[in-house]
């Protein structure tokens, strides 16, 4: 399944995610044709059970789809929708086929079947039909709720560095579409962790593409009578870029590999830290090697670097996750350090307690 997913999504995205499409998306247009093609190929439901029309893919298979979304910087909430549908199914609710996003920053309260409060930084919020998030009920319990974006009292538009929509949605006693108690095997940080996991994979895809683009540019650009790739100083920078690409990719893949029994927050933390730090280094090297041309709007480098600068901060920055991980590790003490590193069963990191 993995190979088929990867070849299909790469074909779709390399055909459709052109520089023109990205420019239109950044000016606020929804990429209708791209989304329809992704739907036609079943990607929004890839992780959902066959009963509801899904492909029942495990997280290791979904990894290659999400990494490709990063490689081609697709301006759609497909990664978010895969997470949202996964959470709905985990909670005994049915996956959706209309456009779905997620909100990890929520202060919603659920009273009866109505919610009030705010969702922040909702990826592609204004374009989504519905949003999955968590809400506290009157008994103080966390619920998975599905909200219709049209019921929001207000949508305040926001964008990240790459002009990707990151919106704020306010609800005032809005009727929910459906809800369920957050299942016992999941934590209140589930959407934050799942979001960080998919961003790590997207970052690794984008760094990979950055490496390919930068290495090939260095082979073509000539100065002092030879390709700049012939200069050792350039070679060494590209080697560091390759190391960072490898680190981000392996770290993200390891997190996905442990996700089928619930999001492995500890390895997600490691993945998001490694990927976010790799993003910073990779973007800097990409620009350094490209020279002035890479600083123009015309040249496609910024499609990658502006997203890397955004994604490294989303769903928790390197510093955010480092602090959480460090607190957890110190609490286990020196004796606990190595056993924890080598045994996923000892890792149970949690950002927000239920």
């Amino acid at each position: 399944m993995r190979e088929l997913f990867e070849s299909t999504i790469e074909r779709v995205l390399s055909d459709l995610c052109t520089s023109d499409l990205l420019r239109e998306a950044e000016s606020g247009e929804w990429p209708v044709a791209l989304w329809r093609t992704l739907e036609d190929n079943g990607f929004p439901l890839a992780g959902a059970p066959e009963m509801v029309g899904g492909a029942d893919a495990c997280w290791s298979d979904l990894f290659v789809i999400i990494r490709a979304l990063g490689r081609f910087v697709a301006p759609v909430p497909l990664a978010e929708m895969i997470v949202g549908n996964w959470l709905l199914e985990q909670s005994g609710l049915n996956a959706r086929s209309d456009i779905l996003s997620i909100a990890s920053e929520s202060n919603l309260t659920l009273v009866g079947a109505r919610v009030s409060g705010e969702l922040r930084q909702v990826p592609w919020g204004r374009f989504a039909d519905s949003v999955v998030t968590l809400a506290n009920d009157e008994a103080g319990q966390l619920n998975v709720v599905l909200l219709d974006v049209a019921t929001a009292e207000r949508v305040r538009q926001g964008t990240n560095i790459a002009s990707e929509a990151r919106d704020q949605l306010s609800f005032s006693s809005a009727a929910i579409v459906m809800s369920a108690l957050l299942p016992a095997h999941l934590d209140g940080d589930v959407l934050l962790a799942a979001g960080a996991m998919v961003r790590s994979a997207q970052i690794s895809g984008a760094i990979n593409e950055l490496l390919v683009m930068t290495a090939s540019y260095a082979g073509e650009r000539k100065q002092f009578g030879k390709p700049i790739a012939a200069f050792q100083a350039i070679q060494q920078q590209l080697a560091v870029l390759a190391e960072q690409a490898a680190a981000a990719s392996v770290a993200a893949e390891a997190a996905f590999a442990g996700a089928d029994q619930g999001i492995p927050t500890f390895s997600v933390a490691a993945a998001k830290i490694s990927a976010s730090d790799a993003a910073s280094q990779a973007a800097a090297i990409g620009h350094s090697v490209h020279g002035a041309i890479g600083f123009t709007q015309e040249y496609a480098l910024h499609n990658l670097t502006r997203r890397l600068w955004s994604w490294r901060s989303e769903f928790g920055s390197s510093t955010f996750w480092s602090k959480a991980l460090g607190k957890h590790v110190c609490a286990a003490g020196a004796e606990g350090f190595w056993p924890m590193l080598t045994n996923p069963e000892l890792q149970n990191l949690s950002i927000t307690q239920k």
Partner: protein
């Protein structure tokens, strides 16, 4: 080169199962082994300990049973060695033999050579050193001048090796020597590998003290050293290719990022269970880097187990790993208000003092940063 070659590979359950036994053994044997000795990492020499490991069946594990091995997967060996390193066990005596000499002899040796050398490696009784570097040949290894010449049905060796770790304690050296003319055999031709019994007359070994006063590496002189026909290992003239294959084993293992783990342990203990924000951030980031390197290293182990020679991927692990190992004493001398101390001071202060001094060597031994990055650049098709 494609980064997707670098994929995640979990440790299989049968290998993972060894962990509890080796951990319990180490807790028992090393229960009063102090932190400042654990900091020696794979530079700590203790022949008695190596023989104990041999008895446990934890040396040469991946070798065929007929030579004393366990025919275990490379992942089984991985579990054992990472536990040894994490505990700071004194593994230096057998380390090189187990890591690279044994696989090299198995792969390139004759049947007689395998039978002669491998069983005692598995018993933890026979130690090897690596004779590559010379006074005028460091990074530019192909420029070596020490020679082996055919004479009366055997070989005669002349020349000098330097920086040879553990030569003074080892039974054998596997050396790269010039056997052919550089002009006629090309830059990477005309070199061959030899297994040299270090008791042979004509060999002089002199320890060289390192900056902290330790004696780990040596200079080794060869003065008309007479060896038998069977000292040659592998094919005459193919020494370069053999060395290159050996280096992938040498560069991708957990000792390339765990050399400073002792200072993580002492730092966490010094910080205590309630870190401030700065301490938490530093410890968290270190944890993430370590976990990611381990996952990368396991990915390379998978490739090696499939018989591939992932030279660039191994170089990625070593270079990134060395950066971490070197930064650890730098970062962790800043997380608590304690200064490094050689004599006196806390465990953390002593470990800091030792590793601060050792750190520069981490990116020299086994190939320098610039050389590794050059190999990666070649993998990228840039040279």
């Amino acid at each position: 080169m494609s980064i997707s070659e670098f994929s995640y590979s979990a440790i299989p359950a049968d290998a993972e199962q060894l962990r509890a036994a080796v951990r319990a053994f180490l807790q028992d044997v090393l229960h009063d082994y102090p932190a400042e000795k654990r900091a020696y990492s794979w530079m700590g020499f203790d022949a008695e300990f190596s023989r104990l490991l041999g008895k446990k069946g934890w040396l040469g594990m991946a070798l065929p049973k007929q030579y004393g091995g366990a025919e275990a997967s490379p992942f089984s060996r991985y579990v054992i060695i990472e536990e040894l390193l994490a505990a700071g066990a004194p593994v230096s005596a057998h380390w090189i033999a187990d890591r690279q000499s044994a696989p090299l002899i198995l792969r390139f040796g004759t049947e007689a050579q395998r039978e002669k050398y491998l069983p005692s490696i598995c018993r933890g009784e026979s130690y090897f050193c690596i004779g590559m570097s010379e006074p005028n040949s460091g990074s530019d290894l192909a420029s070596i001048r020490s020679t082996a010449k055919r004479a009366n049905g055997g070989w005669v060796l002349d020349g000098q090796k330097v920086w040879t770790t553990n030569a003074q304690h080892s039974h054998y050296m596997i050396a790269l020597m010039r056997t052919g003319d550089k002009e006629t055999s090309g830059r990477h031709g005309g070199m061959s590998q030899f297994i040299i019994d270090l008791q042979t007359p004509g060999i002089t070994i002199r320890p060289i003290a390192d900056l902290a006063g330790g004696e780990h590496f040596n200079e080794v002189f060869f003065d008309s050293v007479q060896l038998g026909e069977d000292a040659l290992i592998g094919e005459e003239g193919r020494g370069w290719d053999q060395v290159t294959a050996e280096l992938a084993f040498e560069r991708s293992g957990p000792e390339r990022f765990l050399s400073s783990i002792a200072v993580i342990h002492t730092a966490i203990a010094a910080i205590g269970p309630h870190p401030d924000a700065f301490q938490a951030r530093e410890i968290g980031k270190i944890t993430a880097r370590l976990l990611t390197l381990r996952n990368m290293s396991l990915g390379v182990t998978k490739q090696l187990s499939e018989g591939k020679n992932p030279a660039w991927a191994a170089s990625c692990v070593k270079d990134l790993g060395n950066v971490l190992e070197q930064e650890l004493p730098e970062i962790l001398q800043g997380v608590v208000d304690e200064q490094p101390q050689v004599v006196g001071g806390s465990a953390h202060a002593k470990v800091l003092a030792y590793l601060t001094q050792m750190a520069p060597s981490f990116s020299l031994r086994g190939g320098t940063r610039e050389i590794l990055r050059g190999i990666i650049a070649r993998g990228l098709g840039l040279r």
